[in-house]
């Protein structure tokens, strides 16, 4: 084991080359890891948005479908003061209220607490009557979700059952 005591170390050139090579390897590896993690995050965001838009679409479709013509009102916002077309707030019957608050989809029933169904991703929530003649029979809505470069949007026309 005498060689451990040998005074022959590495030369400066050897050290520098080793350093350069290992930093190149480390840089490449970190770039790969960062891009993999970005890809993963982006994928899960996109999946979450798709799930949310599907959920919102089903929820609104079912709620509007159960409504009766003439009992659905579109307001400009949740203060329920200004009746508009199109608008961001939908009142079905006497109590159910769906509206956009900052970037959330909110549902409120009667005097109950507002429930934030989808948070921080609603870009557009818009209710409208597709045609003036059909306003007693049909309601359209458009939802667009957007979060950090991922987006998904859909529109739907729903006919009242009653």
């Amino acid at each position: 084991m005498n060689f451990l005591k040998s005074n022959r170390g590495f030369t400066l050139t050897e050290l520098s080359i080793a350093l350069v090579i290992s930093s190149i390897i480390a840089l490449t590896a970190s770039v790969i890891v960062v891009s993999a993690s970005n890809n993963f995050n982006r994928g899960s965001r996109q999946i979450r948005l798709q799930r949310d838009v599907s959920f919102a679409n089903d929820l609104l479709t079912n709620s509007i479908r159960e409504a009766s013509g003439g009992t659905v009102v579109i307001y400009s916002d949740s203060s329920e003061t200004q009746i508009v077309n199109p608008g961001e707030c939908l009142k079905i019957g006497t109590s159910a209220l769906y509206y956009k608050s900052s970037r959330d989809l909110v549902y409120k029933s009667g005097g109950g607490q507002p429930q934030h169904l989808i948070r921080n991703s609603i870009d557009t929530l818009c209710f409208f009557y597709p045609t003036a003649a059909d306003s007693q029979n049909c309601l359209g809505f458009r939802i667009a979700l957007q979060e950090d470069g991922c987006s998904v949007a859909t529109t739907g026309n729903v006919y009242f059952r009653n």
């Binding site: 060689f3 040998s6 996109q46 798709q50 679409n57 029979n137 739907g156 026309n157 729903v158």
Partner: protein
């Protein structure tokens, strides 16, 4: 001992060309394989997004059946390759309404109520091009009393 170690250090046998080629090939195969996970994952996420939107579009078309009288269903709903919006892509929607004769009350002329048109089947198919033809198809049956 010192002698043998210094021999080892000064030995000039590195890796042969064949060894390094094999190593490089193995590494690139492994990296390509890993890369495929990203590409495949991304395209399947995209694909599922278009599929969801296509299902929503198809449901919307079936929903529209609610507007029309039974007698005019076929005239009102039948369509061939209407362009629909699927986010970043456009899809083509085809709706077919077919009269169906249910054997439960007799077939054709033997029908109890004399009407072989027992119910109508509405089928909506949406197709979109993305790495080959993708399509979803939804269908529903309605009887003459469906609006009551």
């Amino acid at each position: 001992m010192i002698q043998s170690f210094s021999n080892k250090i000064s030995a000039e046998t590195g890796t042969t060309l064949v060894e390094s080629i094999v190593a490089i090939t193995l590494i690139s195969v492994i990296m390509l394989g890993g890369f495929q996970f990203f590409v495949g994952g991304k395209s399947s996420i995209n694909d599922s997004g278009f599929r969801r939107l296509a299902i929503i579009r198809a449901e919307e078309r079936l929903e529209a059946a609610n507007r029309f009288e039974y007698a005019v269903l076929a005239d009102s709903l039948d369509e061939t390759q209407t362009v629909v919006n699927l986010g970043d892509l456009t899809g083509l929607r085809t709706t077919v309404v077919t009269a169906t004769d249910d054997p439960i009350d007799g077939l054709a002329g033997a029908d109890l109520d004399g009407d072989p048109d027992d119910y109508k089947q509405i089928t909506t198919t949406i197709s979109w091009p993305l790495g080959g033809q993708n399509q979803v198809s939804l269908s529903t049956s309605v009887s003459a009393d469906y609006r009551q």
